[in-house]
Symmetry: none
Subunit: 529 residues, 2 copies
């Protein structure tokens, strides 16, 4: 039997934008839609054209693009009560969006119709049927049955009636929504199978739309597919309200790579998923989730020495798939739990694994530094620089001579907190002595360092600090203990981590800042080489 | 039929510490173990006593605690090849840990035994049987069958033989581990049901241990329970290597609240789960995951206007459970979560719970401060002082006027890092202006503060700083973001936490130091009253 094609429906731009801290500009929406189309996503829900100027503009602009086989969908609710569909401004806005598909959401749960919408059960059926019929004249209608599973559990006959109303009126797809995200996989499997059977006479296709409130959104999507659904709705990275929607990345990877009998994206490879995931995070200005399945930075990261030992012998012992299949890569973390295998694995990426003498020096230095509190697993850039320094293939771009920060509160009653930094450094033959103010001492140091270097190295304008973390290494000794600072920096292409350790938090921050800048300058050299 | 009790086995301190960026101090491990015991977790895996001094010290110290019904487990591997179990240093270290339970991990997958371990299949069985038999003389043995599902798929007979070897030798539990995290729920259900059946003659109980590489760890845990497992292994917040372990928070909530027929934690309420989750994040110095199911800050946050409207009419339309059941809160009513319950708990200690006007003022202040980045879960002393200040039952022991720190490196080539602090404060009528040096700026501030106060308050000699933690609150803005400092202080009787928040790390530290000292002085007054 040939594999069954499962259609992927993305609602990152609509349901995803309901997530806390998510806000897309028009340009963001256009660039994400284009990227989704390049990936081969079947349906791209663009937004809610009623009462949203940005979404109206989105539909106007995206219409001019050639999106290959991807179809743009406009989203809206059934008509208001006691009104003709053609007269309803929501219906008119949906038609005006001129999309090949329209996604219409309606009420399935009797309780929801009567208690929240305050309409009779018959009027709700009429709203669904008449809205579908009106919209089906202009576009393919995808009917999203809100609260389908809760509605079915409360009153299965009425829930199925709402679906039949949409199907009879011309909907091509009926989508079962677990709006609260609280349904269990066995319930999704059972109810979907029953509903698919009861609706088989209508010739419609079935979709599934889940939320992650029980941490089961992906499992629920897969259960529905096994029970007959052929469309999965979700968002990239699972962003969305509350705990988010089903993460389409995990859904696609599980369907195409892990399960048998299904294809997605017309059978294309999934090698662009990692890039797609990071692109959406970056565009939405959200933090990456390191542990995200399949595409996270830690998804194939190995820390335990035994695991690394095993990985080098047989990757399948600790990797459920080849990371390259989803465009991700294996990372070997250097940490207190790691042995020689970890370091050798990293060194081989630098093509120095054959130099045994150098390898021994690196190992000795890493052990010494780990005893001082350095930990390189979140500091790939500092580790890279360490290897370069030890392999003597390294010329620093600047030499710091001294620095000083002053911080305090000039007047407690009026809280006038301040921070200033002074630094002295040499670039080539030139001595730079600069000062800057900042929100805090590290910000001031960063500002002074850039001020001294930016004339020589304008690429530093592209670089920004993303995260700053501090931890006491030996927490038995209070503020006199060693302090470890991790700084994460980034430019438009990538992010990199650096580390500093000292009893003095300012000194530790200064080390990490120096490495962050040095790594950026080194990257730039390689780019221009 | 009465509900079936499912045992919860926590491995946050061992498997969780394999997570990227996770590193627990001894004090962290002890305080997490104690919190897990308070929650009622059945088994608490403390670590790996072989080759890890910190874990050895952990077992020595935790042995002195009364942990109620919770059992501490030491973790280790089967004996080395061609050696008696009694002679193996790993076996000896496990016995020396003197825990009531020992968790022994062994190889199930023929490929893993022959290709990675390089032992014959018979020797692997002997290693499992003899190790179990040796350990069972000292403790209850929980046998973790590594790669159980992959092993079963490759060679079911051999996989079952490894389990029988452990069961015959006296293991009380056999735990099926999805070590790679790549197994699908239907496979877990099918294989678990078969294995449970085949092992039924041995009178052992079955556990499940899953990883989240396919975003299915929770679904897989639930599937195994439905197939007969009565123990679930995982970590708090799902921290762990790669994509993490099964999140015990979601597992417990689904078993006890969503599914029928199961109880966890001896039927206790799950109202402490939200606090437990945040405590572990804070202790591990990890960012909270806002969208985390059940306990995340966004898990019951409502953004869409329609949703908020519906929520006000009927909460169940957009909430799958009552958030209070897991100690969480809806975000549209009171902006922050454990705020109110904390306030009520502390207020009742101060006999002010009846003063509604004061309670409202405290609530408003907490909401305001939480929006600025304050979080009082690890800062009980600052919270106590906040209530005293607002209830106007409070006379400060000193008034800080100003402070200043200078830190830097006088000469990079000879690394002469320094830190100095100057402070000015008033005690009663007396003005103190003092300076001190320190290992870093916070240490210098602490020294100067004590110097100014110790003549008046000699009890400060008994107080010491135990831990110092820093985190960026809005990590999107690099070093210019708000910084939250937590300081843990102690004397011979107890420890207490304080907090400071500012864009400037020195100012945040100063706030936390001031509260730490003020709380100690307040305690002293009460003792002498």
């Amino acid at each position: 039997m040939s594999a069954k094609a499962i259609q992927i429906y993305d609602t990152t731009l609509r349901d995803g934008s309901q997530g806390e801290g998510v806000s897309f500009s028009l340009q963001d929406k256009l660039s994400i839609a284009r990227r989704l189309a390049e990936t081969g996503i079947d349906f791209i829900e663009g937004g809610y054209p009623l009462s949203n100027e940005k979404d109206v503009a989105f539909f106007e602009q995206i219409r001019k693009d050639d999106l290959g086989g991807s179809k743009i969908c406009a989203f809206g609710m059934t008509r208001r009560r006691s009104m003709k569909a053609a007269d309803d401004p929501g219906m008119q806005a949906l038609v005006a969006a001129q999309t090949p598909c329209i996604t219409l959401v309606g009420k399935t749960w009797d309780y929801h119709a009567t208690e929240v919408l305050r309409v009779s059960l018959d009027e709700n059926l009429a709203m669904i049927g008449e809205s579908t019929e009106f919209l089906a004249q202009s576009a393919d209608v995808i009917y999203d049955a809100e609260h389908f599973f809760d509605g079915f559990k409360a009153n299965p006959d009425y829930a199925i009636d709402t679906l039949k109303a949409a199907a009879s009126a011309g909907a091509k797809w009926l989508v079962f929504c677990d709006t609260n995200g609280g349904t269990l996989p066995e319930e999704v499997a059972d109810i979907t199978a029953k509903a698919v059977n009861w609706l088989s006479a209508y010739g419609v296709q079935i979709g599934i739309h889940t939320h992650n409130d029980g941490e089961l959104a992906v499992a629920n999507s897969l259960a529905a597919v096994d029970a007959g659904a052929t469309q999965v709705q979700g968002t990239i990275n699972g962003i969305g309200e509350r705990c988010g929607n089903a993460d389409l990345i995990s859904v696609m990877a599980n369907l195409a790579i892990k399960k048998t009998g299904y294809t997605v994206l017309d059978g294309r490879p999934l090698t662009s998923l990692t890039e797609l995931s990071r692109f959406v995070y970056e565009t939405a200005n959200l933090q990456l989730r390191g542990g995200q399945p399949f595409v996270g930075q830690s998804a194939f990261a190995h820390k335990g020495g035994m695991h690394v030992h095993a990985i080098n012998k047989a990757a399948s012992t600790y990797e459920h798939i080849d990371p390259a299949v989803v465009g991700n890569e294996r990372r070997i973390l250097v940490s207190e739990l790691s042995g020689r295998s970890n370091i050798e694995a990293v060194a081989s990426q630098h093509n120095i694994a054959d130099d045994k003498e150098l390898m021994n020096r690196i190992l000795a230095e890493v052990v010494k530094r780990e005893n001082q509190g350095y930990q390189y697993e979140n500091a790939n850039a500092s580790f890279n620089l360490l290897i370069r320094r030890l392999s003597e293939t390294y010329t620093p771009h600047f030499n710091a001579i001294k620095y000083r920060i002053v911080a305090g509160d000039r007047d407690r009653a009026n809280s006038t907190v301040f921070a200033e930094a002074v630094i002295k450094l040499v670039v080539g033959e030139t001595l730079w002595f600069d000062a800057a103010e900042g929100h805090g001492p590290v910000d001031a140091l960063d500002a002074a360092l850039r001020k001294a270097l930016v004339d020589t190295y304008p690429c530093l304008n592209e670089m920004r600090l993303i995260d700053y973390k501090v931890r006491v290494v030996d927490s038995g000794a209070g503020t006199a203990a060693s302090i470890r600072v991790n700084i994460e920096s980034g430019d438009k292409d990538e992010t990199w981590g650096t580390i500093g350790v000292s009893e003095n938090i300012i000194e530790a921050s200064w080390q990490a800042l120096n490495d962050a800048v040095e790594y950026k300058l080194h990257k730039e050299d390689q780019k221009n080489a």
